[in-house]
């Protein structure tokens, strides 16, 4: 992962305020007490899913190391919590065990958190991807976070279209919703802006875990002429394997997927949650238990395009990506619509 050394800009969206404000935070929160800061995370898939769950877990590990190891920060996790009531009881359990911060890492956990948070006013909670801190219900101890997945989608779409010889790209999605959908929409926009003649084919397997069907989906894309593939969820590993076998390129999201297939993965949009985590910790230590929402963007460094050093990406392609990122950062490009006229 990438742990920026400089101060991170975090965009904090206050629902009340309506306009995002930018605050500066210090990289390492001061830990005053001797007892460690205790973080628990509950997640739908596993800490090694090469996707959403792993991105957050590794973020926690990075912060832990920065803070000085397990003595300074304790991390507990519950994985495989696809069933929401199970996740809710895990969250409740952590809260009653006195954890400082309990992260419910899945948008489906929101409504449970809404019920649990008021029961534990001393505990900080966080959830994502969402921006809703339930402030409207008078809840003040919930953080919310989300990734502007479409931003990286746009950038990678540009890159894919640039590199594609056939002008055909394939997207392998799990279900048409949430973070995955945003990413895909961004990718389609980026690709078609870069190459107006480009075709972006989409498939959904209806499952977050069906690796084999995902592989078939990738195969179908390739047969239909695609030479650039992307997709989201933990099941894309299947598609990556197929891309590799067929000499197609892959673009990853949520986590740096290079290690899965070093000769296939061109670049990944990496979610870097360290800034968010550190700010939540710092806020809590400053007495603010919640009511802040965070968005990962290119601008605040939460989203990073990680290139695979093993693959030669033409300089002009990189330049196009850089231009796209710059455009997104300065607002001249809307990742879901294209350049703003």
């Amino acid at each position: 992962g990438s742990t920026p050394e400089q101060p991170v800009e975090i965009e904090v969206t206050r629902i009340v305020a309506g306009t995002p404000e930018v605050i500066m935070i210090t990289p390492t929160p001061e830990v005053v007490e001797a007892k460690p800061f205790r973080v628990a995370i509950v997640m739908p898939s596993s800490i090694t899913d090469a996707a959403f769950s792993q991105s957050m877990y590794e973020g926690l590990l990075a912060v832990q190391e920065e803070m000085g190891g397990p003595e300074k920060m304790e991390i507990a996790y519950s994985e495989g919590m696809f069933n929401v009531p199970d996740a809710a009881s895990a969250v409740r359990d952590y809260a009653s065990q006195g954890f400082d911060l309990v992260i419910a890492h899945g948008s489906q956990y929101g409504s449970s958190l809404q019920q649990i948070a008021p029961e534990f006013p001393e505990t900080s909670f966080a959830w994502g991807t969402s921006l809703d801190t339930f402030q409207a219900d008078g809840i003040t101890n919930v953080f919310a976070y989300q990734a502007e997945a479409q931003e990286g989608g746009y950038a990678l779409g540009v890159l894919a279209a640039f590199m594609s010889k056939s002008g055909i790209m394939g997207v392998c999605g799990p279900v048409e919703a949430g973070d995955a959908k945003l990413y895909v929409d961004g990718f389609v926009t980026g690709a078609t802006v870069q190459n107006p003649n480009a075709t972006v084919q989409k498939t959904y397997t209806g499952s977050f875990s069906d690796v084999a069907l995902m592989a078939s989906a990738a195969e179908t894309h390739i047969q239909a002429g695609a030479d650039m593939l992307t997709g989201s969820s933990q099941s894309v590993v299947g598609a990556i394997g197929i891309a590799k076998d067929n000499g197609a390129y892959w673009f990853g999201t949520q986590w740096d997927q290079t290690a899965l297939a070093p000769e296939t993965v061109v670049a990944s949009q990496v979610y870097d949650w360290t800034g968010v985590i550190k700010d939540m910790i710092a806020s809590r230590q400053a007495g603010v238990l919640g009511n802040k929402s965070y968005t990962l963007t290119f601008k605040n460094g939460g989203l990073v395009i990680q290139y695979n050093p093993g693959i030669d990406v033409p300089a002009d392609a990189k330049a196009a990506v850089d231009a796209a990122i710059a455009g997104i950062m300065d607002g001249t490009i809307d990742p879901l619509k294209g350049p703003v006229q």
Partner: protein
């Protein structure tokens, strides 16, 4: 819709369907032997997972895919043997033992994966082998004759299994053990031995089915990589009426429709993707209900064998 009816799409579907059917073929043919002898093994999915893991891990660390395949086969065999001990010797209810085996395989394969690999890595699996001459026919060559060895083996297995079941003394004993074990027993057929044999061979094949995913088709391992394929494989045995050719038919139907629905999505045809994904399941039921000749299950299937009771 018209864009779906082109040669590239047709042969694309055939190519993908043939590949997709491979793990089902291994698992279902193995399971049909076990069921033909009277043992319902619902744990195929768990065995596939263990096979997929060991096949991948051994293949990766040793650098030899064949060694990986062997490891997967042995793992499958051992898991099958475990099922046989539980359901044949200890006479446990077959349905529940299978579910236990599935849970165990799912848990253990994930655990080992985390312990030894931490995260998914991809390898180069069995490469495609183009069959000389035939492989060069336009379209047909690509769709039928440019697959990896494990795919060819799966299809080769169909006539072999057919032969064993129908033309050998062993096959006759297997069928008798599933239909009337008491009768076979009185003729000196060792029911226990036969069932041990079929259930462990079924396990072995399920192990290979798993490996076909992890070292020949997808070429990596991820937790729960089968995502319930083992249960579909069991269902396909019923579709196939306990006959290898029937199982072939079922696996192909299911896989072709699955490949077809992906093309529907790729071509951007406007139906919700969920309904597209549903298609193979719906059509398999329909085909069995209206098109395929149905056979009744082996009379002793799921029944515990007690000597002398009749």
């Amino acid at each position: 819709m018209a864009e779906l009816f082109t040669l590239p799409v047709l042969f694309g579907i055939i190519y993908s369907g043939i590949r997709l059917a491979t793990p089902y073929l291994y698992a279902s043919i193995g399971e049909s032997f076990s069921q033909a002898s009277g043992v319902l093994n619902l744990g195929v999915d768990g065995i596939m997972l263990m096979g997929a893991y060991t096949g991948f891990y051994v293949g990766m660390t040793s650098g030899s895919l064949w060694l990986g395949l062997l490891a997967a086969a042995i793992t499958g065999l051992l898991m099958g043997l475990l099922m046989a001990v539980i359901s044949v010797t200890l006479k446990a209810e077959q349905g529940i033992s299978g579910i236990g085996l599935q849970l165990f395989g799912l848990g253990l394969s994930t655990l080992l994966f985390k312990l030894t690999m931490g995260g998914a890595i991809s390898i180069s699996g069995f490469p495609p082998v183009r069959i000389p001459l035939l492989g060069n026919i336009p379209y047909i060559g690509e769709a039928f004759f440019n697959h990896n060895l494990l795919v060819y083996f799966a299809y080769l297995l169909v006539p072999i299994a057919n032969f064993v079941l129908n033309k050998t003394t062993l096959g006759l004993k297997i069928r008798a053990a599933g239909q009337n074990p008491q009768a076979a027993d009185t003729l000196g057929v060792n029911i226990t031995l036969i069932r041990y044999l079929t259930v462990s061979m079924g396990g072995l094949m399920a192990g290979i089915a798993g490996a076909s995913l992890s070292i020949a088709l997808i070429n990596l391992f991820q937790e729960n990589i089968t995502s319930g394929m083992g249960f579909i494989a069991v269902a396909l045995v019923y579709f196939g009426g306990w006959k290898p050719t029937g199982v072939l038919l079922g696996s192909l139907l299911f896989s072709f429709v699955n490949a077809f629905q992906l093309w529907i999505q790729v071509k951007g045809i406007n139906i919700p993707s969920d309904f597209a994904v549903m298609m193979p399941y719906v059509l398999t039921i329909f085909a069995l209900a209206f098109a395929v000749k149905r056979v009744s299950a082996p009379a002793a299937l799921t029944k515990i064998f007690e000597r002398g009771e009749n």
